[in-house]
């Protein structure tokens, strides 16, 4: 019997023009956005690889100069686009993709695509994640709202139950019917995505298939939640119309209102300084130091050097004291940067936690967090790269200052180093964090999404059991 119900629901979807066109539309949008995302990810990755190579070439062929000039010359670092970013571009349009590593300061990331955007891009971008997070749930609602409420309205629910089928079987059959219709559009998209990853990965990634599988699991849980919710409402509502209106309200609050309210709430609970205030704080702390971080004392370190080498005058030192001073000021600056940027990133993460917590009111928030995380495009993984780039900058500065200290004398401004030193600096090697690291950051979202799924299924079961026949 349940086979018949599944079959009937499935053919209903295929035969009804409205459902058919909606499904075809969503399916093709999904494929188009996957395709476009893949092309874009691959192009960006190639552009960045080329730009990174050019930057490296500029660095190696900068000619003979003082190592400190080279440190000022600096080098660009480009954030690699991870393979799965073609599914969800996450915060990438808002973070910038390149950072200039130079002496004395930690720079912000530059070049955010959002900077070049018109209002059209702000309302919605066509990415696979948007389709999966907004349109597929809407399709599920449209396919499901009438399953029980519609049968009841038409009076066929009584007939069906009279055949001796249990309510739970009936509802289960309907859910399976809708799911198989959905599978017709989701399975090909998933296969295309997986094939794109395996055959022609658009960029580097840590464990892309494991990440991809987890991503698919998250979206399946999300869809199942919506399916169960829709069934529950359809069983509860007096008419198909009421079911539709209620479900649309849920969809609007989940997808449109909750994320924006969460933004304001997280800003209100954990405010961040404006760009201007932030720059000003860093400037003034760099100028005067803070309570526990004092500016390097040049006289003291000179004294220390003189004692260490047992000489009377700075000119007699076998090393270049300026190199030592520069490194000391570099380390002082680093502590100021760590303090300020650290506090800023921590605030961002606290804002993220507010977001994740609010997912108890809207599962989309949990799904969005998990999706960005698994695609490698969330704030935490941006910070991971930013930290790697900053560590690289510090090593680079240490190497330049060290070379100057060892190979020249104090007061010698003519010393130059050449290609040998520039080539001795290893290129920036970045390894994206593994899946376990990502999931470890996202325990809260996983729990909330799990709770939504379990709650929705329980609600569906309870509602179906109590569904009235007329």
């Amino acid at each position: 019997m349940i086979r018949h119900i599944v079959h009937k629901e499935f053919t209903d979807v295929l035969r009804d023009g409205r459902f058919r066109w909606c499904s075809i539309l969503v399916g093709s949008l999904l494929l188009i956005s996957l395709g476009h995302g893949w092309v874009q990810a691959r192009n960006t990755q190639q552009e960045h690889a080329a730009a990174q190579a050019t930057a490296r070439e500029h660095w190696e062929t900068q000619g003979e100069k003082n190592p400190h000039s080279a440190a000022h010359y600096g080098i660009y670092a480009f954030k690699p686009r991870l393979a799965l970013s073609f599914v969800d571009e996450g915060v990438d349009p808002y973070t910038g993709t390149s950072v200039w590593l130079e002496a004395h300061r930690q720079n912000d990331f530059m070049l955010r695509p959002a900077q070049d955007a018109t209002a059209a891009q702000r309302i919605g971008a066509l990415t696979a994640a948007q389709v999966l997070q907004h349109l597929v749930p809407l399709l599920i609602i449209l396919l499901t709202f009438g399953t029980l409420a519609g049968e009841r309205e038409r009076g066929t629910l009584r007939q069906l139950l009279a055949t001796g089928i249990g309510r739970r079987e009936l509802a289960g059959g309907k859910a399976l019917g809708v799911s198989s219709a959905l599978a017709l559009l989701l399975v090909p998209a998933a296969l295309v995505g997986a094939a794109a990853l395996v055959v022609a990965s658009p960029g580097p990634a840590a464990s892309p298939l494991a990440r991809g599988t987890a991503l698919a699991g998250v979206y399946l849980a999300y869809f199942a939640t919506f399916l169960a919710l829709s069934l529950a409402v359809s069983a509860w509502a007096r008419s198909a119309r009421t079911a539709l209106v209620v479900l649309l309200a849920v969809w609007v609050v989940n997808g449109l209102v909750a994320p924006r309210v969460a933004v304001d709430l997280s800003k209100w609970l954990h405010p961040t300084p404006s760009a201007f205030e932030f720059a000003r704080t860093v400037e003034s702390e760099m100028a005067t130091g803070t309570g526990d971080i004092s500016r390097p004392d040049r006289a003291a370190s000179t004294e220390h050097l003189l004692a260490e080498y047992g000489v009377e005058r700075v000119e007699d030192l076998p090393i270049n004291a300026v190199g030592v001073y520069l490194q000391e000021s570099e380390e002082f600056g680093n502590r100021i940067f760590d303090r300020n940027y650290g506090a800023l990133w921590d605030t961002f993460e606290r804002q993220g936690v507010v977001h994740e917590t609010l997912a108890v009111a809207a599962p989309l928030l949990a799904v969005r967090t998990l999706s960005m995380g698994l695609a490698g495009t969330d704030v935490e993984q941006h910070r991971h790269f930013a930290n790697a780039a900053e560590t690289y900058r510090r090593d680079l500065m240490r190497q330049m200052n060290g070379d100057m200290t060892e190979n020249s004398l104090t007061g010698d401004f003519t010393y130059t180093a050449g290609a040998e030193l520039w080539e001795a600096v290893p290129p920036l090697q970045y390894a994206a964090p593994p899946l376990g690291w990502v999931l470890g950051n996202r325990v809260l979202s996983l729990l909330v999404l799990g709770a939504w799924l379990a709650g929705a299924i329980l609600a569906a079961v309870a509602r179906v059991r109590r569904a009235e026949v007329t």
Binding site: V91, Y94, F348
Partner: protein
Amino acid sequence: MRSESTVAWIRLIRLEFARVIRSGGVAAAVLLLLGLGVYASWQGNRRIQAAEAATSAAETAYRDQLAYLSSIYPPTTEAGEPLYYLAFPAPQPPSRLSALASGRMAVETASLRIRLLALEGQLYEHETLNPRLAAAGHLDLAFVLIALLPLFVIAVTYDIVSGERERGTWRMARLFARPRRLIAAKIAARVVLATGLVTSPALIGAFSTGIDADGRAGWAIALIALHTLFWFALCLGVAGGHRSSTANAMILVGVWVALTFLAPAVLSLTNALLHPVPEALELTVRQRQGYHEAWDLPRAGTMESFFEDYPKWSDWIVPEDEFTWAWYYAMNHRGDQAARDASHAYRDILTRRDEWARRWSLLVPPLATQIALDRLSSADLGTQLAYQEAVRSYHERLKAHFQPFLFSAAPMAQVDWDRVPSFEPAVPAGDAPQAGLPAAAALILISVCALLPRIRSRPSPDS
């Protein structure tokens, strides 16, 4: 006779109004929308206040920094040295109207601080906003009125005829008035409700923020009204037919999704494909390269290219073997020169993007309204470009002011600090009718098209 029919007419509308507001979800939806609207106006007001506070803070910061630099450098220090550090404020005061449509305000900083060094690298600074929050979008009154209000319109209108028909009350209702008139009264009652939803938060926002009642505000109100009427026209066009309530609801929600999400996404994708911007990366790299190369090049060459842009200094000779600040700032200028072509190309492509988006958005009512509102409230891409242009000219005026002191290697005590030029904010791009008229015309035209099926076919007399 006439007044009697007017009274009957008003009574009909009043009855219908009471009926709508009393039905289950509607009251809840009205409260939710009102709440969101008032909240959004309040947030908009706070954003304006924060932006204004930032404007005055930038001024204070400049004074403080100047005082600090004067205190740590002996007065005989060459002016070039403190000028290396000194950052001049270039704050763009927000348009009051942006409390209503905040546009790019959340992402862009409108308060750059400019140093006398190469400019290109300083122009693209941005707000320290959590990228995660930026990606989630923001809630301004424009979003509530353009994206959410249409859903409410759909929810109260989709079963305007079919609901009565399905409940079997349509025949009875027709006894009291002709169908056309009945439908008109029903629509009128709902328009009154929607008007209340639009005006109350907008008025609260306008009064608390102190929006001037000028042409721009007038156009903004007209556009929102026309946009809301467009949705009524569309709903009437669809719901006045013979379909079932469920079919009406599905069609209208489908159109809403298509117009509010899909069409903007498709347009912006097309726009990005037609006008790609690789130049952004190129210009920063070029600027760095142009500046840094100059350290190792003969100084005469650097000065030569500097004199091309500033011939009035071409008599000065800069020594090859000693550091001068005149040469140092000329090197910085060389960086900007190297990036000039790339920078022009970047601006060109952004301008074309902006124009393309404005033209094609006219086909999509919510997007046309959004873009026109952004423009009216000076929060669109065009305004951002105009702001950058204003910063460019400010940088030039600063250079003109300080060059005499740099070339004569004057000590900082001699610099005329009182007459340092101050920033002149960009004027809003395009006047109000220019920003509002195309969108208004498009909205009216599309509304009429949406009504066409109803105008041609008489409303069902019997069913």
